[in-house]
Symmetry: C2
């Protein structure tokens, strides 16, 4: 229903045949050309149409990824890295065909350095798998996009989630990457020291590069001690503005809140139904979480409670671990709750982020516009960061509805950019947001393009993503 | 006393003449070829020899910097950005001649967005100037290298300082940069939103690029509310290991300490003499600072006090603002205190950073090696980050002494790299640390070189810095 934005030419059929033969020799039945496998790897969790690759290579090691890239480079075959396929902007679409490198078999936690609060994982490890592994050691990794994404994919898209307001995004939590470059070399972007001023920040360059500069195969991550005390709270508000303004005041007051999430009336209704939440009403609501010492958590919560009261919020504690778990599970499943509103429909997720002083205005105007558009949509936001999503529920067969959702999102993105914000706080560009890159970055696009050309002169790394043609 | 590492050829004399004539026409007497001005701009605060440029251009605006770069690019003249000249590795040396762009006249604070906790400044604003400006609004900018450096220079070198353990480095505190690229275009690297996943992280690429990819002219910075409560403490220890192990345990316990600084016996002796500190002894000492609410600060300090007691530390409060001020001023002046140990001498500052689990071992071995070398040197460290400096006091006319200091530093850097650490935690590479880049980065150097070539194809931007020839 949505064509790839960039015009990337498909590989020469005979070169493709030669490359696939070489890959088959190397990988055996870990190279698949089966239609079902190719289709599954051409589809993400969004409304974007399937763009299947010519083959899928299931890699077992960094060296193997390097060999795959080397073979593809020799024959000018596109290479598309694939983690869990949970991206939202067509990042894994093979618009020009080529070989998808599936990293899910590379799912080992390679080392945990508890004394240094860091670990090294292969790219296919998912965030939940990592946290399961760490739990016994009293450590955790905080970045939590809605899906159980792979750590490699989270690096590639510069993911964040509900904890970013306290712990930062993937940008802030990666110490070093092992990367296979476009010519099949293996590099490490940095060493394990917490800080360094030794040369260009290659780590941050590859974080968020969406596979367009190389394939991330291993990641050295920062970890955190599980806080001594954790408490959550839910706070329904009489209206959307009051909820947003409470979040803004919380940040401006400097409370080191671990999570502050907004769900509008529609999103609450969807989550109550999908996650069977009891004792909640479908009104604009903030979910809070506080991390710290027992006394610190109490103090933070009391400060936020006083702020919420000024805006008419009804602040309610959720101290029991099972209540907290249910609450945050419902929040994480909000994408699926939204999709369940209309069976057979897909969710088109928007993702603007603005300076927090403009957040209330941006949400208010976008909600008014949504109500006027006749679309079904839910608002959920990492409001402490100035970031929110509208999940538009669209019928994949209703072209008019999709066009109206796209048009609404376009207006909202331009509104956000006009407020010095961004078209994507955390989902990334893929090909779904390429059309906003000029408006957001202007002449800086030329610098990005120079970097792309320098690091991937053949243009084989995840072509058609991030940069306008 | 120390030759530039990279062989960069000087500009053609007739091209230089033409370029200087064009610059003079544009800048009038803000272009200087006076020897004293050129010499002053070829000298940093280190032991490195003066490398004077052919001329110094005092720029007034981003547009003027762009015009200067455009003229220099047309005639292939090196361009060296200059803030306050307080760098430590020859960053501002004009080893191939060329035009130094002095940004000190660009010292305006352009906007303060108190509600968003950010501001925009011109590159020549110094950190102290900014904090003076902000004080009345209850805000501050935490990054504090020893010198009163310019914000532009701090970006260029990826500076940090004593607060990095809590607030991060320049990498973490820049929202966006205005940059003049090597062909004289003006770009903005990002918008003002707190987070974004929209394309390559150009902000982080230019932070730490030391003027080799472009000239930073404006900076959008994160700010912080001045904490409700601040308290400091001093804690002398019976030996160096106990002090370091207290710092390590503090970090591993997760106390959000704002500062934890180590001064060894020699550094304490120098600071007591230079800053007339009373009631202190020349023994290994930790300086702490705690930021938070009244209750939070008390709780943090009590936790650290208990940790210190286990290692034999004598934890003493410094709650009076004037005592605190004196303490931290002495710490910030430690470079000058070290230099004052031997009048007429210079300080050669080392800057390794290792994973914190290796810090005690790295400091212990380096100190033993220092004692054996017969050199005069003081150890001061941002030990919460795993970062420490030895300031070697060297006689600029004693080649043997300099050679021994360089040899000691070389051994220490290789020791740190062997521990998965870095040759520079915060000072940057300049030309003084180029010789370690291969050992630290291996094949990643080739990727850095590709980026340099893509963004500065003529090689005019601060040539001879960061990358080995």
């Amino acid at each position: 229903m949505n064509a790839p934005a960039a015009s990337v030419s498909r590989p020469d059929p005979s070169a493709l045949g030669t490359a696939l033969a070489a890959l088959r020799q190397r990988l055996g039945d870990r190279l698949s050309e089966a239609e079902a496998v190719r289709e599954q790897h051409g589809r993400d969790e969004s409304y974007h149409a399937v763009q299947a690759p010519d083959a899928v290579a299931f890699a077992d090691s960094t060296e193997e990824v390097a060999a795959i890239v080397e073979i593809c480079a020799a024959h000018r075959i596109p290479v598309i890295p694939f983690g869990t396929g949970t991206s939202l902007e067509g990042h894994i679409g093979a618009g020009a065909g080529g070989v998808t490198v599936d990293l899910s078999r590379m799912n080992a936690v390679l080392e945990v350095n508890a004394e240094d609060l860091d670990c090294r994982v292969q790219a296919g490890v998912t965030r939940k798998q990592l946290n399961e592994y760490l739990r016994d050691q009293g450590l955790f990794f905080p970045i939590d996009p809605g899906a159980d994404a792979s750590i490699g994919g989270m690096c590639a898209t510069r993911a964040s989630g509900t904890n970013a307001v306290r712990y930062g995004t993937m940008r802030d939590n990666v110490l070093s990457l092992t990367v296979v470059t476009a010519d099949g070399r293996v590099i490490k972007t940095a060493r394990r020291a917490r800080k360094s001023a030794a040369g260009y920040d290659l780590t941050r360059l590859f974080v968020g590069s969406e596979g367009t500069l190389g394939v991330i195969t291993e990641i050295q991550l920062k970890l955190y001690g599980i806080p001594e005390a954790i408490s959550s709270a839910v706070c329904p508000f009489p209206d959307l503005d009051s909820a947003v303004n409470t979040a803004i005041a919380t940040i401006q007051t400097g409370v080191p809140v671990a999570r502050v999430e907004l769900l509008d009336d529609a999103q609450m209704r969807a989550c109550i139904a999908h996650s069977k939440l009891e004792g909640f009403e479908p009104v604009p609501t903030l979910f809070f979480e506080f991390h710290g010492t027992e006394a610190g958590v109490r103090e933070q919560a009391e400060t936020v409670q006083a702020i919420a009261a000024e805006f008419g919020g009804d602040f309610r504690w959720a101290t029991k671990p099972e209540d907290r778990g249910k609450l945050w599970e419902a929040r994480h499943n909000s994408h699926y709750a939204t999709r369940a509103l209309r069976p057979g429909c897909q969710v088109m997720a928007s993702d603007v982020c603005v300076p927090i002083s403009r957040l209330a205005e941006c949400i208010r105007e976008s909600k008014l516009d949504l109500d006027a558009s006749g679309l079904v949509g839910c608002i959920v936001g990492h409001v402490g960061d100035g970031n929110f999503h509208i999940g538009y529920v669209v019928d994949p067969n209703d072209e008019d509805e999709i066009a109206r959702a796209i048009a609404h999102n376009d207006r909202m993105v331009l509104r956000a950019i006009g407020m010095d914000g961004t078209c994507t706080g955390e989902h990334g560009v893929g090909y779904g947001k390429i059309r906003f890159m000029e408006a957001e970055h202007g002449d800086a696009i030329a610098v990005m393009r120079s970097i792309k050309h320098a690091l991937d002169p053949l243009g084989i790394m995840n072509p058609g993503k991030i940069l306008p043609a």
